[in-house]
């Protein structure tokens, strides 16, 4: 009997699912080697089917998306119970990703923004409720939690596979590895490891030339013309997150002329991604007077978005304090 495979989509954009499909013919290997038992985006299955499974009966679960509501949490716990290997798949599951930036606001503000701003036509001021009586009975929608959490804040996670989304060639490599493990040809990495990544940071794979850096001014990339295509972007004053971001993507963005924005998260063993960028950017500032340093720092207009775009929910401080207090 083939080992069982599951994939789930919690709070996320769905790009991770596309990335899996984007492995092209490799997807056939999945089908060939696994019995897909639960994958809502690809096949029909009911939660109760999963609930009925034996504990630990699923060999591999790729869980993408973070935990935003009680349904996400329920399924995360359920899949943990039923799976041997649970992989936090993609940046959302690993560290909250873009949805995690919602942690800068109290949940009430988020709902208010969604249902009552200029871009929303809501003349009757209708807000969603968690339960609603209809003739057929009581309907439920999931309840939003105060803050968004990465998967490992809710359940024990075996492996982390970052990326927004994970690169297809990395997914393929991981699938290959698991197949080999199943066949007894390879061994699994130690529990808790980040998989599908390189062992350094983006600069390692970036072809741009690098020198000793002294920054007198930070600028947005669109404000620099022309951008030197062969020189380290940070040296040109563009706050590129590459130095602190885990390698594995083949420096896709710097190769394409854009700065790294950090979707692969911190390098292995790093406790807080944002702290690494704070120290990286401030280390190369060439000034000693507080006023001058402040002036240079003004070139990074949104420090939080800059250093925690993908990692806020997974950072040491996890969220804006007001979000917790709400």
């Amino acid at each position: 009997m083939k080992p069982k495979f599951a994939m789930y989509w919690a709070a996320s954009c769905g790009g991770c699912e596309i990335a899996v499909l984007n492995t092209h013919e490799k997807i056939l290997d999945v089908d060939a080697n696994f019995d897909v038992v639960f994958w809502p985006v690809a096949m029909d299955a009911k939660y109760k089917d999963v609930e009925a499974m034996e504990d630990g009966s699923i060999l591999l679960t790729l869980f993408n998306g973070s935990i935003r509501n009680d349904e996400n949490e329920h399924i995360a716990k359920l899949l943990r119970q039923k799976s041997k290997i649970l992989v936090a798949f993609g940046s959302c599951a690993c560290e909250g990703c873009i949805p995690g930036l919602a942690n800068l606001s109290p949940v009430g503000d988020i709902v208010h923004t969604a249902f009552n701003t200029l871009t929303t036509d809501n003349p009757h001021q209708i807000y969603p409720r968690t339960s609603f009586d209809v003739p057929e009975g009581e309907l439920h929608i999931p309840k939003l939690e105060k803050v968004l959490r990465p998967l490992d804040h809710v359940v024990d996670v075996d492996y982390y596979m970052p990326g927004c989304p994970p690169e297809s060639h990395q997914i393929a490599a991981v699938i290959d590895l698991v197949i080999k493990v199943v066949k007894g040809e390879a061994e699994l990495p130690p529990k808790g490891a980040t998989i599908g990544v390189g062992n350094s940071t983006v600069c390692d794979e970036c072809p741009r030339a690098r020198n000793v850096k002294t920054i007198r001014e930070f600028k947005r990339i669109q404000d620099i013309a022309p951008v030197d295509p062969n020189l380290c972007l940070l040296e040109q004053g563009i706050p590129c997150n590459g130095p602190a971001t885990c390698s594995g993507c083949n420096a896709r963005c710097p190769n394409a002329g854009a700065q790294c924005i950090g979707c692969y998260g911190p390098a292995q063993g790093v406790m807080d991604y944002g702290a690494r960028l704070i120290t990286a950017f401030s280390s190369v500032i060439d000034a000693t007077e507080p006023q001058e340093i402040e002036r240079i720092l003004d070139g990074i207009p949104d420090p939080i978005g800059q250093v925690y775009r993908f990692n806020l929910a997974g950072s040491l401080l996890k969220a804006n304090r007001n979000a917790f207090k709400s």
Binding site: G274, I278, S283, L316, L317, R321, F324, K325
Partner: protein, 170 residues
């Protein structure tokens, strides 16, 4: 002193060459200061990784004091400037996190400035006391995996009243 008086817990990072010695000097001279700061010795303020500050704040510290040699007097020539730069960017990030940037303070104190160290410590404790606890709020919703520590009540520190306070009360 009433039991509900908030006593801040503060982590202080000190430089082996200046501020840690200033703290030693304050001790040798028996200067009294607020007991809320717990010190960590590093070789230089340049060693200060912002992670340490974030860790302290996330693990229950209400404030963080970073101390180093005066500008131009660093034992390692100029590393305190690096601490200064990190500190300034870190404060911007903290502000975005809804944390009062004043909870993190950079103080220059030379090895000779025991009195300054004591005074700055007491002053900082007062500032943090005014700001109140760095409360993340109880997370009833689903709870975070790491329970936010609320302090061992048996270890709650009752600060001595500062001389300034006495003066005001006088």
């Amino acid at each position: 002193m009433t039991h509900n008086t908030f006593e801040p817990t503060i982590i202080g990072f000190t430089c082996n060459w200046c501020s840690y010695r200033a703290a030693d000097l304050a001790g040798t001279a028996r200067m009294k200061y607020a007991p809320n700061v717990r010190l960590i010795r590093m070789m230089c303020s340049g060693r200060l990784d912002p992670t340490f500050v974030l860790r302290a704040l996330s693990e229950g510290a209400d404030g963080v004091m970073i101390t180093g040699c005066h500008p131009g007097e660093c034992h390692y020539i100029e590393q305190n400037y690096k601490a200064l730069r990190r500190y300034l960017l870190l404060k911007r990030v903290l502000k975005g996190m809804g944390i009062e940037p004043e909870r993190v303070k950079l103080v220059w104190a030379s090895a000779a400035e025991g009195a300054k160290f004591a005074a700055e410590t007491t002053a900082f404790v007062e500032e943090i006391r005014k700001l109140g606890p760095l409360s993340w709020g109880k997370d009833e919703g689903g709870g975070m995996k790491d329970e936010i520590k609320n302090g061992d009540s048996s270890l709650t520190i009752h600060a001595e009243r500062s001389s300034f306070e006495k003066e005001v009360a006088a």
